[in-house]
């Protein structure tokens, strides 16, 4: 009976979402570490599926076979040390198998030594400020006007008609592909969190504290994220856009910035 409800719920879900399959899972991202993170995510997921098949399998078998209406007589056993030792030991082994690669990845994530370039990210209610260290490039990055116009209640603008609704900014962060970029996070007011799924970075920007994270993007492209820590009324309206460009294009961008100033 339970199984039926499961299947019907699942069936309904699948029917509604058959054409949106791309949004079902975590992105693999464009850095080595984001791929490692994705693989860890899938590793634990498949362990969960395997455990689920065994546990739910036994349970469903029991629900079908051991019911009073089928004339099942109840047995009288109430403990078995062997069984209990087995189902304590096996999870421990699985956890060890999961935690070894996880710890390896964590060590890499924390290794922000020798960056090619550092960017100081300062969070404000409700926008981001970026300063490229060792250069005079700095700018604010806020929600794009197109989304700004569509977001109020009764704005009369259909969100579906806006490109990248709520995920577009006026000034994106531009970084070169293949360089080790270190990000230094802090905040001017409340706690925010800089989240870029494709780079597998989510780090809190906290007043009075400087946090760091790093990445080497392997593919150029435009990547989108959002503030992930509740930071007040416009928390949903402070997106992040990172443009990863070829090194030459990055130099051109830096020069054009210098020319402006």
């Amino acid at each position: 009976m339970i199984r039926k409800s499961f299947l019907s719920a699942l069936g309904l879900l699948l029917a509604c979402t058959a054409n949106a399959e791309w949004a079902l899972n975590m992105p693999k991202g464009v850095t080595d570490l984001s791929l490692e993170t994705y693989n860890l995510h899938m590793l634990v997921f498949w362990w969960c599926v395997a455990i689920g098949i065994v546990v739910f399998g036994v349970m469903i078998f029991s629900l079908i076979k051991h019911r009073k209406s089928k004339g099942a007589e109840s047995a009288s056993f109430s403990h078995s040390t062997t069984a209990e030792v087995i189902w304590t030991a096996i999870p421990v082994i699985i956890l060890i198998l999961i935690s070894i690669p996880t710890a390896e990845t964590m060590v890499k994530i924390e290794d922000s030594r020798n960056p090619d370039m550092s960017i100081v990210v300062t969070a404000y209610q409700w926008k981001w400020h970026y300063k490229y260290q060792d250069s005079n490039i700095e700018f604010y990055s806020s929600l794009a006007r197109s989304s700004m116009a569509a977001r109020p209640k009764e704005s009369g603008v259909d969100p579906f008609s806006v490109d990248n609704y709520l995920l577009e900014v006026d000034n994106p962060v531009v970084v070169p592909r293949g360089s080790k970029i270190r990000l230094l996070f802090t905040s001017n007011d409340v706690i925010h969190s800089w989240w870029m799924p494709e780079l597998s970075i989510k780090k809190d920007a906290i007043p009075g504290i400087v946090n760091e994270a790093w990445f080497i993007a392997n593919e150029s492209g435009t990547y989108r994220g959002q503030c992930a820590e509740l930071c007040g009324k416009d928390h949903g309206y402070m997106p992040i856009v990172v443009e990863v460009v070829e090194p030459e294009a990055f130099d051109a961008w830096v020069n054009s910035h210098d020319a402006e100033q």
């Binding site: 019911r67 710890a103 579906f160 609704y165 709520l166 809190d204 959002q226 949903g236």
Partner: protein, 532 residues
């Protein structure tokens, strides 16, 4: 003369309870106080649920349709506070009040007047909290986690929030003391600790957790209060304080709090599954050790809520390994329930259906919990709808379903009549289907990149949000069936003292409905009641 007074007093105790409002206001009777706790919990469940309906209506399609972002944040904050402190916790305290004395053969709770007080503080606390909705600046909107500095931007509501939490904490601590004293001192003479039913055991452990962490929580919010009004800088960087310190203190309370909301649920389910499997609970003692183990681990895993705040690598590794360890005792519990069912003789009355759904769906919440323990992946999941899906799976088809299961299981004992089984089953199926439609798609939303606590979202998240909203409204409406079952509870056939098919435990040895006073002389344990 002395004997006369004592006699008169004894006689008085046999009288029916006072009539009208006085019965409830001045009650020192564990059954009446249990009923009041459960009623308050149901009312709060619907108030918190109404807020969830506002949230899901706004999120049904992209763009803002009904509310402004400020009010949306007030709704998410208040929904959480009311559901955690108003619906789930009082429901378990209500079940404890009703059932613990009946299960251990005690005439009442050990400290009946304190029992009365710990209940009546609650309506006052929630009055304070709810009044903030009508204040300038509105209700608290900084999330139920109340992280500074954001929470310090709350308007007039701020001190009301703090004081209502103080009151809730006082109530919880008194309730916990009462339960510990009752369980330790008032068990039937032959009932050794390891002979106690699982519900009593899990509540004993829960009560210790409450006493350990509620004062910590009160301390944390008091520091917020002095930061706001008395010039201290515990959490203000500008004055040399540390905003992250609050998160450490909060989650030192917050993580055990999670187990406060699930351990009694384990207890309820451990009572129900044996009854309807017609078989003893598998591994009673290992269940006790597993619950104690979970309680111990709950104190050393708090920072897994904080993998993104910037902790040293060794700290992250410690909290990750400790968190993963919790999967072991939790697994033992689930395996033991399955082993209880194995080669049983099962029937599927409403309480059993809810208990089975609990085992299935709580396990799914456990799986996402294991995924969340993996720190690099957690950095991606953190503060997204994946987390929302996870904790709603352990709280709604987890804690709430266990409360429902317990309510259906013991309702005939409370009223003396069988509830409407058809309606009960309908309520179960509607709840189970809709709860999955609501919360399962949230896993996908989180993985695809939707942060939590946002009033509006990018159009790529539209489909799953619409499905979740439809499910939520269906789940909300399904709960009206439960109210109908309760309102018509006394219309069913009269039940025997046992109610079910040879259930085990002392609560089934007293008549149904349970008289106002029970076990005025301690009972003898017999093997017919499941004691060996």
């Amino acid at each position: 003369m002395n004997t006369e007074v004592i006699d008169a007093h004894d006689e008085h105790a046999d009288h029916a309870p006072p009539k009208g409002i006085k019965r409830w206001l001045f009650s020192t009777n564990h059954k009446d106080i249990g009923t009041m706790y459960l009623t308050l919990s149901l009312v709060m469940f619907f108030i918190g649920g109404a807020m969830a309906m506002v949230i899901r209506s706004e999120l049904a399609i992209p763009g803002l349709q009904f509310v402004h972002p400020e009010f949306f944040n007030q709704m998410t904050t208040m929904h959480a506070l009311i559901m955690v402190f108003g619906a789930v916790m009082p429901a378990f305290v209500g079940l404890a009040n009703w059932m613990i004395p009946l299960m251990i053969g005690a005439p009442d709770m050990a400290l009946p007047r304190m029992n009365n007080w710990s209940f009546w503080i609650l309506p006052v606390a929630f009055g304070l909290l709810a009044s903030t909705l009508f204040m300038p600046g509105g209700a608290p909107a900084g999330g139920w986690t109340m992280y500074p500095p954001l929470i310090l931007q709350t308007g007039d509501a701020f001190p009301f929030l703090i004081f209502s939490i103080h009151l809730l904490g006082i109530s919880s601590i008194m309730g916990a003391i009462n339960i510990i004293v009752t369980v330790i001192n008032m068990r039937a003479p032959d009932m050794s600790l390891l002979k106690m039913p699982m519900f009593v055991w899990t509540w004993l452990i829960t009560a210790y957790l409450l006493i350990a962490v509620m004062p910590v929580f009160a301390g944390a919010v008091t520091m917020l209060l002095t930061d706001q009004f008395f010039g201290t800088s515990f959490f203000l960087a500008a004055g040399g304080g540390d905003p992250v310190m609050f998160q450490h203190i909060f989650w030192f309370f917050g993580h055990p709090e999670v187990y406060i909301m699930i351990l009694p649920a384990f207890g309820v389910v451990s009572e129900i599954i044996p009854t309807f499997s017609r078989k003893q609970l598998f591994g009673h003692d290992s269940m006790v050790y597993a619950a104690s183990c979970i309680a111990f681990l709950s104190f050393i895993v708090w920072a897994h809520h904080m993998f993104t705040v910037g902790m040293p690598l060794t700290g992250q590794l410690f909290f990750m390994f400790a968190t993963m360890l919790i999967a072991v005792p939790t697994g033992v519990k689930i395996f033991n329930w399955v082993a209880t069912m194995w080669r049983g003789s099962m029937s599927f009355e409403t309480p059993m259906l809810f208990a089975l759904a609990f085992v299935f769906l709580f396990t799914i919440g456990g799986f996402s919990g294991l995924m969340l323990a993996v720190a690099p992946a957690d950095i991606q999941y953190h503060d997204t709808y994946f987390v929302v899906a996870h904790f709603h799976y352990v709280l709604v088809p987890g804690s709430v379903f266990a409360i429902m299961a317990g309510a259906y299981y013991w309702l005939p004992k409370w009223t003396g009549h069988m509830y409407n089984e058809k309606l009960g089953k309908l309520h179960f199926w509607a709840s189970t289907i809709f709860v999955n439609i609501t919360f399962f798609p949230m896993h996908f939303l989180g993985l695809a990149g939707m942060p939590r606590r946002i009033p509006d979202y990018s159009t790529q998240f539209a489909d799953f949000n619409t499905i979740a909203s439809v499910g939520a409204i269906g789940f909300g409406l399904s709960q009206l069936l439960f109210v109908w079952v309760l309102l018509t509870a006394k219309k069913g056939a009269k039940v025997t003292a046992e109610v079910w098919d040879n259930p085990q435990g002392l609560e089934w040895t007293v008549p149904s409905p349970a008289p106002h006073h029970t076990f005025q002389t301690p009972p003898k344990l017999s093997s017919a009641d499941g004691f060996h």
